[in-house]
């Protein structure tokens, strides 16, 4: 059993040119943690997720390495956070793509795939070796369903 056997070959994707506000509304409605960003040629570019949205409303000084570890002295309201979110909502998704999640090949053994799911705590993109083509996504739910059904 390998990654190809447990992946979803038709995952929901977003385009790098989509607006952040549109993508954000979509992942909020569907309760996705992250979604793969794929260009018009089917090439995988990275993921767009809730972490990026949080990053946009948090102070930059707290996000940089060795930055502020305590921001409890800032008391922004929901309206202020919404205002900050609005400032970048019209920007394209391309400015908010993360490449932190490792991609895997379709022939990656199942146990290795599970270990990656465990360490990354996010869905894993399956990419064609030697190219950037997205073949599918592997989520906890896909794997869980397959294990329970066997």
């Amino acid at each position: 059993m390998n990654a190809a056997a447990v992946m979803d070959p038709h995952p929901t994707i977003i385009r790098p040119t989509d607006k952040i506000s549109t993508a954000a509304r979509f992942i909020m409605e569907k309760r996705y943690r992250s979604l793969p960003v794929v260009d018009e040629n089917g090439c995988y570019l990275g993921v767009f997720g809730v972490n990026c949205l949080l990053k946009q409303v948090l102070p930059n000084a707290a996000l940089i390495e060795k930055g502020l570890t305590n921001v409890s002295f800032i008391h922004d309201s929901l309206a202020e956070l919404h205002e900050r979110f609005r400032e970048f909502g019209n920007q394209p998704v391309s400015i908010c793509i993360s490449n932190d999640i490792k991609t895997i090949a379709p022939d990656t053994p199942l146990i290795e795939t599970l270990l990656l799911l465990y360490t990354h705590r996010a869905s894993i993109p399956v990419v064609e070796p030697g190219s950037c083509k997205l073949l599918g996504m592997i989520s906890y739910w896909d794997v869980g369903k397959k294990i329970l059904a066997s």
């Binding site: 102070p59 930059n60 502020l68 305590n70 800032i74």
Partner: protein
């Protein structure tokens, strides 16, 4: 020195070449500076210049103890949130006015750098600065530039403010008050003149939207204090340590004893209500805050310089310098000041000062040892500390601030920084020259 040198090398040549190689490797940063200096120290022993016992005699444990003690105190105290509190409080005192914030952050950075170490100060002040400038939507560069200057200028004022002063104080037996009385007056003048220059450059252009200033005013600085109990304990211990530095010298207490006692005391009181497991974790964490690579860099360097000194090489160089300056104490002092400043802007000031200390001690034969050397020591302290402002690589604190600037997407470029910083550093050395002339000659 050992009876036989390895392969019959000439000790002065061997030690001299090893010393130059150490300098070059530290400057080029191809290898970690602590590894370089410890390896060179071992080669000094293996080569036969020093025995292991003699090498240990060259290590200044007073400097090491003072650095370690202060690193532990600050490492624990910073967890209280006091640095963030001070930065936010100072910004609010001036109603979040951009120029007022710059002045206040300069003052806070200078005072903290004088009483604690520069690196920790900027490490904790710079992120708050970036937060404030982000909120006000203004350029962070003037603030970060000013903080670099404030940390190096403030650190010059006291015995514990900057490593060169710690080394000089320890080697010559100078106390906290000696540095305060002799260096703090000129430091105040330099800081005031520097602020004036900042005002001429940036003062009128620093403007912010009143609505954004109101946002800064909404920060609740009290909430930055994450551990009020630790804050009280840290302030009490820091006060005792300062008193120890001020009054301990006359009682024969060395700064290392005061700092290490303060660190131990803070660890004891902080862990009084902790379980054994919590206490163990807390103490382990505090010891991890000690910059061991810096301490081992010092140890290796002390041994290398001691090896060179024992061969008589530094004595010869000292004679040459005196010949060059015509045996004039005034000319020698001013030369030390300017050479130290330019050298410290380019190379690490720690190895430079470690070399200059025995060199100046050797000048006692010409100038006398009863206080006649004092202007030379103040020249070295002023030059090596203030020289750190000359370039982005001049001091560790500069690189820390530059790192923050880079990560926040507002990089400080080496050339641009030096274009403004080097002339400003030279101005501070010019003021120091006038001060030394007025006060000691």
């Amino acid at each position: 020195m050992r009876e036989t040198m390895l392969f019959g090398f000439d000790p002065a040549w061997y030690a001299g070449l090893l010393f130059v190689a150490t300098y070059v490797l530290v400057m080029t940063e191809q290898l970690n500076r602590a590894v370089v200096s410890v390896t060179a120290a071992c080669l000094m022993i293996i080569g036969g210049v020093l025995t292991q016992q003699a090498a240990f005699e060259g290590v200044d444990f007073n400097t090491l103890g003072l650095l370690t003690g202060m690193m532990m105190i600050v490492g624990l105290a910073k967890n209280s949130g006091i640095f963030q509190f001070l930065a936010i409080w100072s910004a609010k005192r001036v109603k979040a006015d951009p120029w007022g914030i710059l002045v206040m952050l300069v003052m806070v950075t200078a005072v903290l750098s004088a009483l604690l170490d520069n690196v920790t100060t900027v490490l904790l002040i710079a992120p708050v600065t970036l937060l404030i400038t982000d909120t006000l939507k203004i350029n962070a560069y003037p603030y970060l530039f000013a903080e670099i200057f404030a940390s190096n200028i403030g650190g010059t004022a006291t015995l514990i403010g900057d490593p060169p002063n710690i080394m000089i104080g320890s080697a010559v037996g100078l106390g906290f008050n000696d540095f305060l009385f002799n260096l703090a007056p000129v430091v105040v003048v330099i800081l005031a003149v520097t602020l004036l220059i900042f005002y001429l450059f940036w003062g009128r252009s620093l403007q912010a939207d009143p609505a954004l200033q109101a946002k800064v005013m909404e920060y609740r600085e009290r909430d930055a204090i994450t551990d009020p109990r630790l804050l009280k304990q840290s302030l009490a211990v820091l006060f005792l340590v300062m008193m120890g530095f001020i009054f301990g010298h006359d009682l024969g207490l060395q700064p290392a004893t005061v700092a290490m006692f303060g660190a131990s005391l803070l660890l004891i009181v902080h862990n009084l209500k902790h379980t054994a497991a919590e206490e163990s974790a807390s103490i382990h964490k505090t010891f991890c805050e000690v910059e061991w690579t810096t301490l081992f860099f010092f140890i290796g360097l002390f041994i290398v310089v001691y090896g060179v000194e024992r061969t008589g090489l530094l004595e010869k160089i000292a004679h040459h310098i005196i010949e060059l300056t015509g045996g004039d104490r005034n000319v020698t002092a001013i030369s030390i000041l300017w050479v130290s400043a330019v050298a410290s802007a380019i190379i690490d000031n720690i190895p430079f000062v470690a070399t200059m200390i025995p060199l100046i001690k050797n000048m006692a034969a010409t100038f006398g040892a009863n206080g006649e050397l004092m202007p030379l020591w103040w020249s070295l302290a002023l030059g090596s500390c203030l020289g750190g402002n000359g370039s982005l690589v001049g001091a560790s604190a500069n690189l820390i601030v530059a790192g923050f600037a880079e990560r926040s997407g507002q990089p400080i470029h080496f050339g641009k920084f030096m274009l403004g910083a080097f002339p400003l550093m030279l101005l501070s050395i010019f003021i120091s020259t006038l001060y030394l002339q007025w006060r000691y000659f």
